[in-house]
Amino acid sequence: MSKRIGIEVAVAAAEAAALCRFDVAAVYPITPQSHVAEHLSNIVADGRIDAEFITVESEHSAMSAAMGASATGARVVTATSSQGLMYMHEVLPIASAMRLPIVMAIANRAVSGPLNILNDHSDIMPQRDSGWISLFAENGQEVVDMMIQAFKIAEHRDVQLPVNVNIDGFQLTHMVEPLEMPDQKEVDKFLPPYKPYATLHPDKPVSMGTFAMNDVYTEVMKAKDAALVNSKEVILAVWKEWEKRFGRAYEPIEGYRVKGAEILMLTMGSMGETAAVAIDELRKKGIPAGLLKMKLWRPFPFDELKKAVKGAKTLIVTDRAVSFGGPGGPVAGEVRSALYDQPTRPAIINEIIGLGGRDMMVEHFMEIVMKAAKAGRKKRKEAYEFYGVREA
């Protein structure tokens, strides 16, 4: 039986990894991920599970150690944030190319400079093309659920890819809230021990992470892309099984009050909750607004997006990061591209919001939607807007 408890979400993320009986944690602490690191360390130090905690001197080493451990067939968890993730960047595509099913909790935080420790998505967006599966959690419950789902997805024989679970720093990591903590027996049934396809073992030597020049590199890249694309089927199946076992449904793009919605707003991460309250208020005023909450960023849910926006006149895409000198926010850029070949598509507005921890309240989301409702299909001068920016 699941148990309803009050717990800090960062601690809950570590507890979820413990429920998955990880073998190795290789983690370097960084704000606002530190409580995940500390708690993983506590779990190992207290002997609660039979695992190793590898202390490393950097995030680059954390991921490298995670890869080495994973290659031996261990179930590996790690966690980082912001500059730590940027420092890890070099090794991330190697983990995916080596098809190592590492699970990483990312406490999303702005990147320097200027130095900022608060929440946005500018740390994960530069990792977009690393070949990892990328999930975004909206609340503490989703953090716990996705951490457990992540191992099952990552280790599936048809996937064999690393997964990152994105957890808004502070907004989620530092929040004490109620959630259902699944029972160990239930998790054991859902997630059997990891059976690797191949491992590093002296008795049965194999090569991993080899040299590949122009004769095979393209083929390896195509294979990696196919692995990512094909992983969606497994992700959907794992989510179906999760719903059956634990009663909570997951979708690549979750709709909220989308029936009859002419204006849709798309969010990723914890702001979906505050935005949902704004949608409720707008509906009370008779504004036909709805919300799309994107939970799956990689592989990108093309079909689900096309289906979700059908019938909408306007789509407001919120971004928590900037592609400087580019299309505005990275999410909007991808959404525009995904809908380009559709015979009919909504007008797309890109609002860059909540950078470096700038708070977004219910009334801010309402203002964004009401402005879009007023403008209708009238083309905007700018392709994107820094919402609420102060200018002289």
Partner: protein, 181 residues
């Protein structure tokens, strides 16, 4: 929904207070959030921490700007930070002080309800240290009924182990002794 803002200094345990209060509310089957003011913290510097408690699921994840209740752990913060900022006129301000609510009112720009309790004296007597975070929960519970005092037993015991009883005694004393102006 009740929103609470706590004022303290880094190291005085405001974050522990919001955690204990959230856990007590969740223990009662309610929904609750407990969170610090986001960002770096330094020992001794003014800090704030926050609670939301409701009977139904709480979706709002923005900051709290118009609390129903403000709790001040350190009297020295009054005048240093605007502890009544954004506090709803019908709300309540609870201060750890040896002064009476009427005396507190002279130093704070707030027309609503003010309550005062000498939590430092209680904590010194019951805990042997002037750490007032658990003591002040008692005063908050008395003023707001946000949770039952009994609901704090499990979280306080879990957090403090063998010294839990002292904290619970201090909490009960603040509940009884708070002076409501």
């Amino acid at each position: 929904m009740i929103e609470v803002r706590w004022h303290g200094r880094g190291g005085q345990g405001a974050v522990t207070s919001v955690e204990l209060l959230a856990l007590a509310a969740i223990e009662e089957g309610k929904y609750a959030q407990g969170f610090p003011s986001f960002g770096p913290e330094r020992r001794g510097a003014p800090v704030a921490a926050f609670n939301r408690v409701d009977g139904k699921q709480i979706k709002i994840r923005s900051g709290i700007y118009h609390p129903d209740t403000v709790v001040v752990l350190d009297e020295g913060l009054v005048g240093l930070v605007n502890v009544a900022e954004g506090l709803k006129p019908e709300g309540v301000l609870i201060v750890n002080t040896a002064k009476t609510p009427a005396e507190v009112r002279k130093t704070i720009k707030f027309k609503g309800k003010i309550a005062a309790v000498d939590a430092t004296a209680i904590a010194r007597k019951e805990l042997g240290v002037p750490i007032t975070n658990t003591t002040m929960i008692g005063a908050l519970v008395r003023l707001t009924g946000i949770v039952k005092l009994d609901s704090l037993k499990v979280p306080v015991e879990h957090r403090f182990g063998r010294i839990a009883i002292k904290n619970l005694t201090a909490m009960k004393r603040a509940f009884d002794e708070v002076n409501i102006g």
